[in-house]
Symmetry: C2
Subunit: 438 residues, 2 copies
């Protein structure tokens, strides 16, 4: 048995060496771009298709600057042929001199392309529906027509010296042979990227992995992916696409887009930082995420969802006694994401009937009181009893603790540091607004 233990110990150490982060890139994915991905930020294109969105020119410029400051690689804008103002706004943003490259998104048509290349963009994203559904009910064209149009538009845009992406629409319901044929063709004539789009938001991760991996074997250019979130898989599909060799992911702030939207910028940051913290921190100003989300949420008049990754009001709140105990000992036990990376703070919720004596003990210390463990356990039981009757607030808990403490001890000198437990009111202010809390 002691041999076995010795073996296990050695084995564990070897294991740690091989894979320090179990959520890091899979070492067998040699084409993976999990550590070298780029973002195409589409709040000002896909996001404008969100039901509530109406961005003025000033608001578009404010958002574009904030995205640029955050560090996104590309900013995608609504087609200049959508309306006269769309065209003027596109030209205005191109003149801002941002670090991010500016793209606009057009139909695969020379009429659109001619307008797009004159706006001053760094690149054009071309899209056309290749599924049976879109060929029948949208544009009514067959694959040979689509291919011919694609070649004409691509060669025209390239002749202007700017980047060009060719994407299919509704890729997962398109015939795989049609898809690979057209991607191979456009790759040969020199597109910068080909795009896969889950336009209806129903693809699943393994399906994404297979299609991207197959496409990767056919083209030499970069692969970009666009995932809608109708079935809640947009973030996971994005991650899996990167594992399979895709390089660029389309995102928008809070995922704003048609229907319930696309891969959200913040959620993808959570996913990617769990895989490669160093790369993400080197490229993106994560501490500006909350302000960026608030800016866009205000512009389209929505609230940050209560359960939003990272910035949802409870994303770093720990409640059950068993969780609170371990978090106090070592935050990594229940937290891979560090709230400090995003300029946020952790919150241990101890004023409730699920609380444990470790959380109460920590509160006792914060209050600069002195109780033995047995005393803390006794006062915890009193708190749980009141918590059974009604919702508790911090004052309830503090007064129970103080009453109990009154006779048994004297205050210690010097307040202890209390980063693990913050005052509830302070958490509300410091963190993010709690929805509908009175």
């Amino acid at each position: 048995m002691s041999d076995m233990k010795e073996y296990q110990k050695v084995s564990e150490e070897q294991h740690k060496k091989v894979q320090v982060n179990p959520y890091g890139p899979n070492p067998s994915d040699y084409l993976s771009n999990v550590r070298s991905f780029q973002l195409i930020e589409s709040t000002l294109r896909e996001g404008e298709q969100f039901a509530n969105a109406f961005f003025t020119t000033e608001k578009k410029i404010e958002i574009a600057k904030a995205l640029d400051d955050f560090g996104v690689d590309y900013i995608e804008l609504t087609s200049p042929v959508a309306s006269e103002q769309s065209r003027a706004d596109c030209e205005a943003i191109c003149k801002l001199g941002l670090k991010a490259k500016i793209l606009t998104h057009i139909r695969c048509h020379m009429d659109d392309a001619r307008v797009a290349v004159e706006t001053g963009v760094d690149g054009v994203d071309v899209v056309i529906g290749t599924s049976q559904f879109l060929r029948q009910f949208s544009h009514g064209k067959d694959m040979s027509y689509i291919t011919k149009s694609a070649i004409e538009v691509i060669e025209f845009v390239k002749s202007k010296g700017i980047e060009i992406r060719f994407s299919s629409e509704d890729s997962f319901r398109s015939d795989i042979v049609d898809l690979l044929n057209i991607y191979k063709t456009v790759d040969k004539i020199g597109v910068n990227r080909v795009g896969i789009a889950d336009t209806v938001g129903c693809a699943n991760p393994r399906q994404v992995y297979e299609l991207v991996k197959t496409l990767k074997s056919v083209v030499s250019c970069d692969i970009e992916c666009h995932f809608h979130n109708d079935t809640g898989c947009a973030i996971a599909n994005s991650y899996t696409a990167l594992e399979a060799g895709a390089k660029l992911i389309d995102v928008s702030v809070l995922g704003l887009g048609e229907r319930n939207g696309i891969t959200p910028l913040g959620g993808l940051m959570a996913r990617m930082i769990a895989a490669d913290r160093e790369y993400v921190l080197s490229k993106y100003k994560l501490h500006k995420l909350r302000d960026l989300e608030n800016l866009v949420a205000d512009a389209v008049q929505v609230n940050i969802p209560f359960n939003n990754p990272i910035t949802g009001f409870c994303a770093f709140t720990h409640k059950a006694g068993i969780h609170a105990k371990a978090i106090l000992a070592n935050p990594s036990t229940y937290e891979i994401l560090s709230p400090a990376d995003f300029g946020l703070t952790r919150y241990i919720h101890f004023a409730n009937r699920l609380t444990g004596w470790n959380a109460i003990k920590s509160r006792v210390e914060q209050l600069n009181l002195n109780l033995t463990d047995d005393q803390v356990k006794e006062v915890t039981n009193k708190i749980k009893k009141l918590g059974d009757i009604r919702p508790l607030n911090i004052d309830d808990v503090d007064s129970i603790i103080k009453d109990y403490h009154a006779d048994v001890s004297t205050p210690r000198m010097g307040a202890t540091e209390g980063p693990a437990i913050v005052d509830e009111d302070q958490a509300s202010l410091d963190n993010v607004k709690r929805p509908r809390l009175n």
Copy 2:
């Protein structure tokens, strides 16, 4: 070339036969439970660990009944040792005579087990931390101690004739050899289910697939999975786990749970109905989803997130002209999920600058007016021009159309049916509340 076309046509027909639904189960997953999954609904356990949650006995009973009516297979309750009221509530819910089996969730300890089996539950879910982190910072036990406790608790619960599940906690950071050893042991002594838990919410789909598939080769009992949503992958991980052979998924209404929660019931329904509509509709009353979510959201004082799958206010709203056109011709072009399955309606957003003439044409018909296509295109341009200046509402669009129409035509007889475009005000009422819309 015509041979090629002929070949493609035949090939397309064959393709349709082989796989009617491209989002259906992968035919090569012979262990997949995508078509035979079960739900363990944990709003009254994991959901009670949500920061805002305080459920009275009456509210717990109301929620339990609603979940049972919806059709969930299991309802999981907070441990009866958490507080005296938790125990009383557990007993009360067991006495309701629901169709769903009632479970309670306890630590792997005889003290907890003895209380749990006396409450009247149909089964006990046992959990213990097996990761280095939890072994070091939570309970401080080694694997041989964990195994010994597990065997004692399992044999005790089995002796009472009720179901028993054994789950590790933080499974993806646990040593794979430790995990497989203990699962194999508990499977041999006859647990009903073993559980995998992504307690920190950082697992990714391919990682999940590998672990579940490996575990499936080691145990003969059912596999249950529990995914936190910190990195936005809980729904995708659940789906992938089912593909790999897991049978049961832990969910809660709106995903309520520790931090930003777990796999949401509604989001998983969206995912599963895209894969197998028939199975989902045969088991679950989807048209009650909205009421169920509203009940729980009110109880914990949060708003339904604007981008929630299915019940988010914009989940079935289509805006861009190119989308609206195709949706009007055939909803399946941009929609796999049918709003009618959930008792909801589709909404084509036509009062904005991204609108297209097909959407306006449909509105013209709804208004019982008669314009030629060229006239519709002309009036569409007028609408887009105003849409460039400020946000539009339905009245704006209607008055532009009516002004334009005044001299050129006369009203047709008989109103056309208008299921595709509904009045915006009506959509607000019929669908779900729009956050912060004035």
